[in-house]
């Protein structure tokens, strides 16, 4: 099957910029925010979102918005079904997550099982004030009662299709394709 480009590099960047603004708007500023990306591509998205948010509030010397990585491999519910995966590092910013608003960031939202695992992983790390979810692509087909607060692109798909997200920092090219 041939791949069809759904988002080009400029579209991806615009989606990130818009999500950053929506996060700041719903949080009423950038204070107490922590962005945690789910490996692999969620980590790069979280970094870029954090960087964009820092420059939205036009103040001199913008306070840094902490971002990190949250690996969910050990919390997945399909470990028994699949060949063993190697976990990725979890990196929690120095301030921790207690009392902060944590925004989980992932590239594609599909069944919702990864986010369920992420919520479990997060509760072992502390007690955030609130948890939000930002995704670049929502492709539907949820298997759990989970929805995203911030979505780059709603993409209706068939379960047989594959959504490929490539990002500049991870893959060298930036696009979202459907095949």
């Amino acid at each position: 099957m041939t791949a069809r480009t759904v988002l080009q590099a400029a579209d991806v960047q615009r989606a990130i910029t818009r999500i950053a603004h929506e996060i700041v708007e719903s949080n009423r500023g950038s204070s107490d925010l922590v962005l945690l990306g789910i490996p692999t591509r969620g980590v790069e998205l979280a970094e870029r979102l954090a960087h964009t948010i820092e420059h939205i509030e036009r103040v001199p010397d913008p306070p840094p918005v902490p971002s990190g990585a949250l690996d969910v491999t050990m919390y997945r519910d399909d470990l028994h079904r699949n060949p063993t995966r190697a976990p990725r590092p979890t990196q929690i910013p120095a301030g921790g997550v207690d009392g902060r608003t944590v925004v989980l960031v992932d590239d594609v939202l599909y069944s919702g099982r990864t986010i369920r695992a992420a919520l479990d992983a997060l509760s072992d790390l502390g007690r955030p004030k609130a948890v939000r979810l930002a995704v670049l692509v929502d492709r539907g087909h949820r298997e759990l009662p989970i929805r995203a607060d911030f979505v780059g692109k709603n993409l209706p798909t068939a379960a047989s299709e594959r959504v490929n997200v490539r990002l500049a920092g991870t893959d060298g090219v930036e696009e979202v394709t459907l095949e």
């Binding site: 690996d71 050990m74 919390y75 470990l79 079904r81 190697a86 976990p87 479990d120 790390l125």
Partner: protein, 316 residues
Amino acid sequence: MKHLLSTEDLPREEALRILDTAEDMADVSGREVKKLPTLRGRTVVNLFLEDSTRTRISFEVAAKRLSADVINFSAKGSSVSKGESLKDTAQTLEAMGADGVVIRHGASGAPQTLAASGWITAGIVNAGDGTHEHPTQALLDAFTIRRRLHGAASRGRGLDGVGVTIVGDVLHSRVARSNVWLLTALGARVRLVGPATLLPVGAASWPVEIGYDLDAAVAEAPDVLMMLRVQSERMRDAFFPGEREYSREWGLTDERLSKLPPTTMVMHPGPMNRGLEISAAAADSPASTVLEQVANGVSVRMAVLYHLLAADPRGE
């Protein structure tokens, strides 16, 4: 990976995967909630048919941190002391639904027998068999060396070019055998030093250098000096004239310690015979990694149990 029986047949990539996973497990051990739900509902049996404290406790902590149920089984106080065979014991464990069996046995090859026999479908981890191998000890030693050398940047790295000198009772040491295979697979240069009576004849065909003079080995300032325990309980012959002579010739004395550069790591798999193969000052010096080895043992064993048991060991 279904079983971990030896390091001799463990490829470098597989070893690195375990060591990298152990880095993540070490992060978990530093958190307030030191627990992962990964092996919830799995049963791990610690089948220890030879005495052990640190290895058994280490495996028990590792399995519990992954939420597995742990059953401890030792020769004393079980039907093994009534003469039950390994086969019957294994079949009993199988009937009770064990998913993983961590076995320590006095006979070399017992874990292989268990894995190849068809008596039991569980994943088998060798926790020390006779004078053959002790793979998780070698993995935790490699992990400890890598962490001391590279700190937080350890992931993905081997031990290429690292000089490791293993000293003492190699003949009876399963730790030494496992380390020879694993450390050389990871790229380290390994040298064995000890009295000729305690170096196995077969070592000539191993990928190592062999020496008999500890002072010469110390003068070469190796990156790692690994002192082995003198295993008196396995010695049925006189391998050296006396403890004082052993200590003088092949022990890490205060004098030899002072000749080592501060960057040399002093390792010991424990339990230590202080004053025999290692002086108290050497064991407690900043160069010593003995307590790090114990802490890292839990992380490495968590990684091994994860890779063996997270996917269904029966391959459903």
